[in-house]
Amino acid sequence: MARQISSPIELKTYAEEVCKKKERWEMVIAVCGGTGCSAFGSYDVRSAFTKEVEKLSLSDRVLVKMTGCHGFCEKGPVTIIYPWQYTYVSIKPEDVPEVIEKTIIKKELVDRLLYRDPVTKQRIKHNNEIPFYAHQKRLVFQHNGHLDPTSIDDYISVGGYQALAKALFEMTPEQVLVEVEKSGLRGRGGAGFPTGRKWRFCRNSPGSEKYIICNGDEGDPGAFMDRSVMEGNPHSVIEGMIIGAYAIGATKGFVYVRAEYPIAVKYTRLAIEQAHQYGLLGENILGSGFSFDIEVREGAGAFVCGEETALIASIEGKRGMPRPRPPFPAVSGLWGKPTNINNVETWANVPLIINKGADWFASIGTAESKGTKTFSLVGKINNTGIVEVPLGITLREIIYDIGGGISGGRKFKAVQTGGPSGGCIPEWLLDTPVDYERLTELGSMMGSGGMIVMDEGTCMIDVARYFMKFLSEESCGKCVPCREGIDRALDILTDITEGKGRKEDISLLEELGEVLKDGSLCGLGRTAANPVLSTIKYFRNEYEAHINEKKCPAGVCKALITFSIDEEKCKSCGKCAKVCPTKAASGKKKEPYKIDKEKCIKCGLCRESCKFGAVIVS
């Protein structure tokens, strides 16, 4: 029911009302609707639950709802049953009748759907006992597992918009600003600029019309933290933006989301509409006299539009191209007006700081990096998913305690943090605490929070080449170092992976990397060399093996490897011959098989299929 809330007291009464309404549900089945789980078919699971609940006429007692990302994408679809918080993983529509019958009606557990600890082999009942969750500190994501992102009532029932009421009625804009400054919150989009200081620049800029922007143009391969916030709890971002606007003195806000995130766009639009209906957005918010409005703008999917000046150009309807700074957006941004841009996660942190205070926030994290940070943990790891950890935690804890180590029993080789322009960090530096400064010291960066784990079967030159290819395609092409520099670095790396590397290539790459860092116009070019420079720094021997010995130690670069069969290990099972697409692998019963090097296209299928490890790559 839409209603206008016109004072903080009304908001409180309404929150109580909503909470009371929620009490009528004896049980809530929360199915994860996040990116990973919906790919695993969570929408079908949800419909199965709804159907079953209706069939057994339980719909007045049991609520089935779709929530935002729970984070544990590896075991999707994840379903949590409240009030007991029983957590079922990898659930399928076929399992639904059993869950309803056993858990909902008989209040028993369905053992086989519970998470099984790979170490202790024990089944775990509750999500907060699963190691993946137990080592996290979920603040931005605290409500993701149980809130319906399409319902403002749900958000209000957990204390939503209370921070806004507090800011508007108990604090002056200056006090809000000081609070954010004191909290030590830093930009979660990558560069880590202190948020409070950024706000102050914009606030102090002359001009009556000011804008704020939420940067939701998350374009890193393998990263979906901001998406999960927008799809799981869009109201937290909107609340943060209104508080920010109040502190800065902005009149209008924009949420810039990439069009590839249709659900995020839909939910954010819906959230804005609902906030409008409730009088939490628009003219005279909560009767405070403060007016502010938000509009959603869709990006057309260019990586460079995550750069603030390019993003502003894109909102203005121009080509998404960065421009030189100064003037900084805080002085002259959107349509020449003072503009403040923050990342989705930064905005979502603001209500937390206002609610619980700067001191509480500053107590989490390290001396220079406060609070928590979300990461999307992907790659060759057992528990892929979205994690949120206090800053200062070591990479080892994230990868082994939360991530559950490397999949397939293989050995860890490197972790790349910070998206395509982050660096690769080797095993011996895993005990480094994760904060802005330490990661930059290692030649990587915090970035928006991508974390790609690589195992021993990864060739680091191939990895560097992949990221250079991505960046060469995503560079806007304006400045010479970025456009031509990345392209030439890609050429050199391609030559090395094809066995055409020259001795001087490593030093040339290093020189080119420095030029990219120093000479490029925007952050894209300035950080683009990180994957190359960090792999040279930590894995120089691999570069040397490729160039001098024409060998790929990881067995990845096709031009440098040959496949053969170890005659002693081969059991003549014929599996390799069966999977070989070119019939290069062949043999007779009771005789070791052979691979015809002429026919072999080095696809690696035989190696994967061989149970005895008889296929050798050299």
Partner: protein, 226 residues
């Protein structure tokens, strides 16, 4: 009199009007900073990055393009430090690898001591400095040409690859091109940018054709007497 700020360029204290750039201030002093995408009267663009200078901030220093860097009080700038020279040379190498036949670039290379290009040559015939685009838009108020595409596939073009109605056939795009490449391909320009050259009469003025932009016509360059 406009507000003045005081800054230090290459160790010399200078005063420059507020709102001007470091490049302008340095050139006023007679300091040579190479540029390609800069042209007085057009909006600074900061794309070629040849005009980079070293900016000292306390104990740290950074490089920035001087054509887009506004002067400010107490600024300390070095226009030709070792770091600047090193980066500039590599940028020039990159430029040469995209336009190896450009005389302007070759001259610059000779001046800076760049004697070889270590990168793969990919003759694109254009350094995408954007001078023609800005000239067309800002000086001719036309906007007939613009950028198409992204990254290495970025190029200067016209809408739908047709000569646009906005084109005033002024030939300015060819005249302003710093690498002469537009002009040197005049014969095929109709496929190149706007096709404006087709309306320009043949001018036969030069004694020995060095393929400059002066004698561009529908048949291309002509040496005197031919």
């Amino acid at each position: 009199m406009a507000d003045m700020v005081e800054l230090t360029i290459d160790g010399i204290k200078v005063r420059a009007p507020k709102g001007t750039t470091v490049l302008e201030a340095a050139r006023e002093m007679g300091i040579v900073i190479p540029t390609l995408c800069y042209y007085p009267g057009l909006t600074p663009y900061g794309a070629c990055r040849l005009c980079i200078v070293e900016l000292i901030r306390g104990k740290r220093s950074s490089l920035d393009a001087s054509c887009t860097l506004p002067v400010s009080d107490g600024m300390v700038v070095f226009t030709n430090s070792e770091r600047v020279k090193k980066v500039r040379k590599v940028i020039l190498e990159l430029l040469l690898s995209t336009c190896p036949n450009s005389k302007v670039l070759q001259d610059m290379a000779a001046n800076m001591g760049v004697t070889k290009v270590r990168f793969k040559i990919k003759d694109r015939g254009c350094i995408l400095c954007g001078l023609c685009v800005r000239y067309c838009k800002e000086q001719m108020q036309s906007g007939g040409i613009g950028f198409v595409g992204r990254g290495t596939s970025r190029k200067v073009g016209t809408p739908f690859e047709m000569t646009p109605a906005e084109c005033r056939n002024c030939n300015g795009c060819e005249w302003i091109c710093p690498v002469c490449m537009r002009a040197c391909r005049a014969g095929q320009l109709v496929e190149g940018i706007c096709g404006g050259c087709l309306n320009v009469a043949v001018v036969e003025t030069c004694p020995v054709c060095v393929k400059c932009s002066e004698s561009v016509g529908p048949e291309g360059h002509r040496a005197y007497g031919k």
